[in-house]
């Protein structure tokens, strides 16, 4: 959501002689980001946001850790998780990170077709993951574990639900990118926009790496 020519102009040599921020696109079209760090506002903002998100998920994971053992006898993590199933959907999400990277490199190479393709695949993989989660939630629910059943239930659904919402937002961004790109309307530096969405997407993935191990694989 960044804007403009607000940056001070390049005035002194000694400060930041090289302010190019072209993210690998090779033609220098005079798009000089004369930022003090030489980095793009958007990317700086995105990394900062991800740092902030660490504290959000940290809080949710800790809450889960604290409460994972508080449930009725037969509806605890050990009884309810379906490790093979979750492993597969984790794997799907993990691989979506690969397709995301490929989308980013395609964008940097200005290979529109591939970029669109990889973005679409990434979104589909993400959707598969979310679908898996919805399936998982419903089956847990049918086994008797509702959102309000126990502390374990509440904190489990809250944590994984927050993650799921993040993935969903990511999917929407990916689809929007494809859609807007088809109509040639991505504002600003397209490669960077794709990269930003990529960063977000990978972040959601690493959070799942933590959740998968801490929540699913470690018995309580």
């Amino acid at each position: 959501m960044s804007d403009l020519a607000l940056q001070p102009t390049q005035a002194s040599e000694d400060v930041h002689a090289a302010g190019h921020d072209d993210h690998g696109s090779h033609d220098d079209h005079g798009l000089v980001h004369a930022t003090s760090t030489g980095l793009s506002n958007n990317k700086l903002g995105m990394w900062l946001f991800l740092g902030s998100e660490c504290l959000l998920f940290g809080g949710l994971i800790s809450t889960y850790m604290l409460y994972r053992g508080r449930h009725s006898a037969n509806l605890g993590p050990d009884q309810i998780y379906d490790i093979p199933f979750t492993s597969v959907s984790s794997f799907v999400l993990l691989m979506s990170s690969l397709t995301m990277v490929l989308a980013v490199t395609s964008a940097q190479r200005r290979d529109e077709r591939r970029m669109n393709l990889w973005l679409t695949i990434t979104a589909l993989l993400g959707a598969t993951f979310v679908g898996g989660q919805v399936y998982e939630f419903t089956s847990f629910y049918h086994e008797g574990l509702g959102f309000t059943t126990s502390l374990f239930g509440s904190s489990f659904y809250t944590l994984t639900g927050f993650h799921g919402v993040h993935v969903t937002v990511g999917i929407i961004m990916l689809m929007a990118l494809v859609g807007i790109n088809k109509r040639g309307r991505i504002p600003g530096d397209r490669a960077e926009v794709v990269e930003l969405v990529g960063l977000y997407w990978h972040f959601v993935d690493i959070i799942w790496i933590l959740i998968f191990t801490l929540v699913y694989l470690i018995p309580s």
Partner: protein
Amino acid sequence: MTIIERPSLTPVVAGSGVSVGVKPSQAYGSLRRPVSSTGWRSWVFTVDHKKLGIMYGAVAMFFFLVGGVEALLIRAQLAGPNGTVLSAGLYNEMFTMHATTMVFLFVMPMAAGFANYLVPLQIGARDVAFPRMNAFGFWCFLFGGIFLNTSWVLGGAADGGWFMYQPNANALFSPSHGIDFWGLGLQITGIASLTGALNLIVTILNMRAPGMKLMKMPIFTWMILVVQFLLVFAIPVITVALFLLMFQRAFGATFFDVGAGADPLLWQHLFWIFGHPEVYILVLPSFGIVSEVLPVFSRKPLFGYRFVVFSGAAIGFTGWGVWAHHMFASGLGPVSVAVFSMSTMLIAIPTGVKIVNWTLTLWGGKLWFTTAMMFAIGLIVEFTIGGLSGVTHAVAPSDTQQTDTYYIVAHFHYVIFGGAVLGIFSGFYYWWPKIFGKRLSEKIGKWNFWVTIIGMNLTFGPMHIIGLQGQPRRMMNWTEARAGEGFFNLGFWNRVSSSGAFILACGVGLFLINVIVTTRKAEKAPLDPWDARSLEWMTSSPPKEHNFDSIPVVHSLDEFFHRKYEENHETGELTKVATAEEVLADLEAHADAHIHMPSPSYWPIVLALALPIMGYGIIFSRILIVVGGLLVLLSMFAWTLEPSVADDTDYDPPGDPRADDGGPTKELATHV
């Protein structure tokens, strides 16, 4: 000559992604972009950091009065034994909302206002990194604040105390919707803080004038930077807590339901992990303000600039490791208590560094006692008193005697009022001529200062005694039976404190009078009324929309001062080499030819408006959630597609697409 350019009809290739010839206004149908630079529209749809800064300040000031009136009601209730001004329930709502209003709707947004207005000026930038996000933040704050306060008429305000301990804040124990409003309202203002913080950090890191290394940044900007980092990392923690609270109250989760096996201490930890950094979020901006004011009126550079920067960062960092000092009586066990006791003491050290440096800045100076200076010196004194009582809390065993008594109330009002608020007043007097072009009356200012100082000490000073004599806080009344006799009689000191509060209100009132009087008649202030030192004074007052005609190149800390004075390196003697007017004229002479300023936009305010709608939805009717949600999607979509600069067709009549030189303009925009 400077031209604020309108963008060209055919956007220049600005990154391969921007296709040629798409008129941005098409992105949202026939809706024309708000571009007027006068009238109410120019404020409501503005993305100008200065206008937003002023609006932040004005709204925060309003909430200060609201919180102040709430405080006066509290003090009226406690003026005599068995007070009957307020009912028990209303009293509980009153102190909860007093604290919430003061902390979240006054001090934080006021600091955001100062930061918004001044940081771009201090670092020589033309706006912040994400101007629309900036506007969005302001509206979130305003709507969140209004939303919170509508609870008064929609069934009762929150009544759980500002730290809203569980399980007392459960629906079972607090059945009105007050706490729902509280949780959702803070969630919304939290968005304001978070987006504001992201924005300012990127701005400070990325948009400094050429030559302005981090260690040449004005100290106010430095402190703001530290505060924004605290916000970026602390807001998510309270977000988690508030979500748990909402899930519990609105959707039947059991996070704090002891019957279901929950541990109520979970809430306390989450709240204070946020809450302690929060108190430094409150005070560090004011530390920044006085660190600007003291050097200017001592006519000396800040003593130990590096140490002040370092200690600010150290305070920010250490502040993360002390939260449990609010829980010394909660049964953490001796090991945790000992650890947090020690870590809390640690924080006195960097804070002490600041006190020492301010004192040494004054030392050997040529002190000019303007109102701003007096408030700044007042801060040193009053904050030290509050800080020292803080250290007595850090000693855990003695804190078990003090916690939840008025001694704590004394502590935090000394650090908050004596720290944060006095700093804010100092900032008002110092920057008023910059922001409004007129100087606040020094004569009323002196009265303002003295009445406020006397009032605050009379209000909060006796609370030390009241507290150490064992009067707990949050008591809707006190009784003679436990008041004692003689010098330490609680009744006497409660009366003193209540009278003090009304004197304090007069002090605040004098400020309002000063503003009115000044606005009515004061003549224009000189360009550089205080012989100031930093960049924000190197432009006209009030500054032009684009801040600087040409961005100054920075060579030293206190750049402006060094352009006015030359120092003889042998004798240390100063000679004035230029007046402020001359410095400014020099800058104007080299004005940049092409300056693009971001255009106003509808979407920040629309998006922000959607949030309280969803809030009401969660409380009253699920349909509103859907309405709000759709509005969110719509405005996000429109926002994303909207270029940051209005197209010419947005103007009426459409302007000449080309600037006078006819050449392609440098389009530096990236819009995400």
